[in-house]
C-alpha cells in the first residue's frame, strides 16, 4: 500500500511552521521518528512525511499548543500508557465510557473505586467497539480478557487488535505492527483496530474532559 507523501518544504509552507519548530517537535517526540522518510531527489537528500498523518498531527499540535506545554503534548501523543488513576465515578460522570462497557468490564474483573489508565483504556476500546455495533457483549468479554492478559507485553503499546468470525464462531488476536496476516475466504474480519491510535484518541478525550491526574474529584 502506497501512502501519499509530502516533502518537508511543502509541509512547512502549507502549515506555516518553521524549521526550528519542526525540529523542536521532533526532539520532543511529538512527531514519531519513523514518519521521517529520507529520499534522494534531484536537489539532493530530502525528507518526506506520510501526508495525511503529519498534517493531522501538526494540526493537533497547533490546536493544543495554547493549553498545554510541549512536554504535556508529548505525553498525550505518545502511545505509551500513562500512570493516571481515574475515579470510577468520574468515568460515568464525565461520560468517558458508557455504563454498559463499565458493567461488562466489572463482570470480568470486579468493581474498583479507582481504575488505572490501562483498565480504562480497555473499557474505552470495548466501548467504541460496542458502539460500532460490530461485536456483541459476549464477544466484548473476549476482547477485554485478551487485552488484560497480553497488552502489557507489547512495547510502547504498539499493537493491533483483530477480531474475526467464521461460521458464527468468533476469535480475537493481538499482533505487532506492521504485520501481514491473511485469512481464508470463509473468515470475516470484523474489526481491525490500531491500539496506539486509539490510545492517543483516548488521551485527547481525557484532556478534553478535564481528567488530568488522579485528583479529578473535588473532595
Amino acid at each position: 500500500m502506497e501512502t501519499e507523501l509530502i516533502s518537508k518544504k511543502e509541509l512547512l509552507e502549507l502549515t506555516d511552521i518553521s524549521y526550528g519548530q519542526l525540529y523542536r517537535w521532533k526532539r520532543k517526540m511529538l512527531i514519531p521518528e519513523d514518519w521521517f522518510i529520507r529520499k534522494s531527489t534531484f536537489t539532493g537528500q530530502e525528507t518526506f512525511f506520510p501526508r495525511e498523518k503529519i498534517l493531522d498531527r501538526i494540526g493537533k499540535i497547533k490546536n493544543m499548543k495554547e493549553g498545554a506545554s510541549l512536554d504535556e503534548l508529548a505525553e498525550i501523543l505518545s502511545p505509551n500508557p500513562s500512570d493516571l488513576q481515574i475515579q470510577r465515578q468520574d468515568l460515568l460522570d464525565k461520560d468517558i465510557v458508557s455504563p454498559v462497557a463499565l458493567d461488562l468490564y466489572e463482570q470480568s474483573f470486579g468493581k474498583k473505586t479507582t481504575c488505572s489508565f490501562t483498565n480504562v483504556l480497555y473499557m474505552y476500546l470495548l466501548d467504541s467497539l460496542l458502539r460500532s455495533g460490530e461485536i456483541s457483549a459476549e464477544e466484548g468479554k473476549i476482547i477485554i480478557n485478551i487485552l488484560d492478559d497480553h497488552f502489557a507485553s507489547f512495547q510502547n503499546g504498539q499493537c493491533e487488535l483483530i477480531f474475526i468470525r467464521k461460521l458464527g464462531v468468533s476469535a480475537c488476536l493481538l499482533s505487532t505492527i506492521p504485520n501481514q496476516i491473511v485469512f481464508d475466504n470463509g473468515t470475516k474480519i470484523v474489526t481491525q483496530l490500531n491500539i496506539a491510535d486509539t490510545t492517543e484518541e483516548f488521551k485527547t478525550k481525557l484532556v478534553n474532559k478535564g481528567v488530568t491526574d488522579g485528583k479529578t474529584s473535588e473532595e
Partner: protein
C-alpha cells in the same frame, strides 16, 4: 518527586562497578561500569568505560571515556574525549574536546569549541559551533545555527597533538543543514535550507535554498553552486 537518600559511587584509582542508582558517581583514575547508571551527578576525571545507558542530571567528562549505550542528561559537558555508541539527549551540551556520537544528538542548546563526529542528526534550537578540530555530522537541524572558524589559537595545535589520527583541517562537513537563521564559515555541505542564510569564508555548498534572505560574503574562498528562493 520524592527524594530518597542515595549512595555515592566513587572510584579512585582503579576499580569497577556493576552500575545502579546513585546520587554522585565520580571516577578519578581508571574505572569501568558494567550496567546502566542512573544518578544526579556523573563526573569522569581520567579514563573510563561504561557498558550501559546513562541517565543523569549533569554529566561531565574531563578525560577519556567510552560509553556503550545512550546518554540522557540535563547538561553534558565534554572537556576531553568521549565516544558514545548510542545517542545523546540533553538540554544543554557543551563540548570543549572531542565528541564522538554514533547516533543522534538532541538538545535545546549545543555549543562546541572543539571537534566532533556525529553519525546521525544534530538537532538543537540553538547551535553554536566554533571549529577547532574536524567536525562532521550527517545532518544539522534547528532554529539558530551559527558555525564559525576558531581563531588561530594554540588550542588547535594542542588538540592536534593528541588526535594524530584525525586529519587536521579545521572544517565542518555535513550533508544537509536546515534552520531558521543560519550563518556558516568553513563548512562543506550538499544542501543548506532556511529562512535567512548567510555564507561566510571557506564554505563549499552545492545548493542553498532560502525563504527570506540570502547573503554571500565577498570572499574568493566561497563556492555556492546554486542558490534559489523557495
Amino acid at each position: 518527586m520524592e527524594k530518597q537518600a542515595k549512595n555515592d559511587l566513587r572510584i579512585n584509582g582503579v576499580g569497577s562497578s556493576a552500575g545502579g542508582s546513585f546520587d554522585t558517581v565520580q571516577i578519578n583514575g581508571k574505572g569501568e561500569i558494567n550496567g546502566d547508571v542512573e544518578c544526579n551527578d556523573l563526573q569522569i576525571n581520567g579514563l573510563s568505560t561504561i557498558n550501559g545507558n546513562i541517565k543523569a542530571e549533569t554529566f561531565k567528562v574531563s578525560g577519556k571515556s567510552d560509553i556503550r549505550g545512550d546518554i540522557k542528561s540535563d547538561t553534558v559537558m565534554i572537556d576531553g574525549k568521549i565516544d558514545i555508541t548510542g545517542g545523546v539527549t540533553a538540554t544543554q551540551v557543551e563540548n570543549r574536546g572531542m565528541l564522538g556520537v554514533a547516533k543522534d544528538v538532541s538538545s535545546e542548546a549545543f555549543y562546541s569549541h572543539g571537534g566532533f563526529k556525529i553519525g546521525g542528526l544534530l538537532n538543537a534550537d540553538k547551535i553554536q559551533i566554533i571549529i577547532y578540530a574536524p567536525c562532521s555530522t550527517t545532518d544539522i537541524g534547528g532554529e539558530e545555527i551559527d558555525i564559525r572558524t576558531g581563531g588561530a589559537s594554540g588550542l588547535r595545535e594542542f588538540l592536534g597533538s593528541f588526535f594524530s589520527g584525525w586529519p587536521l583541517e579545521t572544517a565542518l562537513s555535513v550533508e544537509t543543514i536546515e534552520g531558521d537563521n543560519i550563518y556558516l564559515e568553513n563548512t562543506t555541505a550538499k544542501v543548506v535550507r532556511g529562512n535567512n542564510i548567510k555564507i561566510g569564508p571557506g564554505c563549499q555548498i552545492d545548493v542553498v535554498e532560502y525563504k527570506d534572505t540570502f547573503e554571500k560574503e565577498n570572499d574568493s574562498n566561497i563556492r555556492v553552486n546554486e542558490s534559489r528562493k523557495i
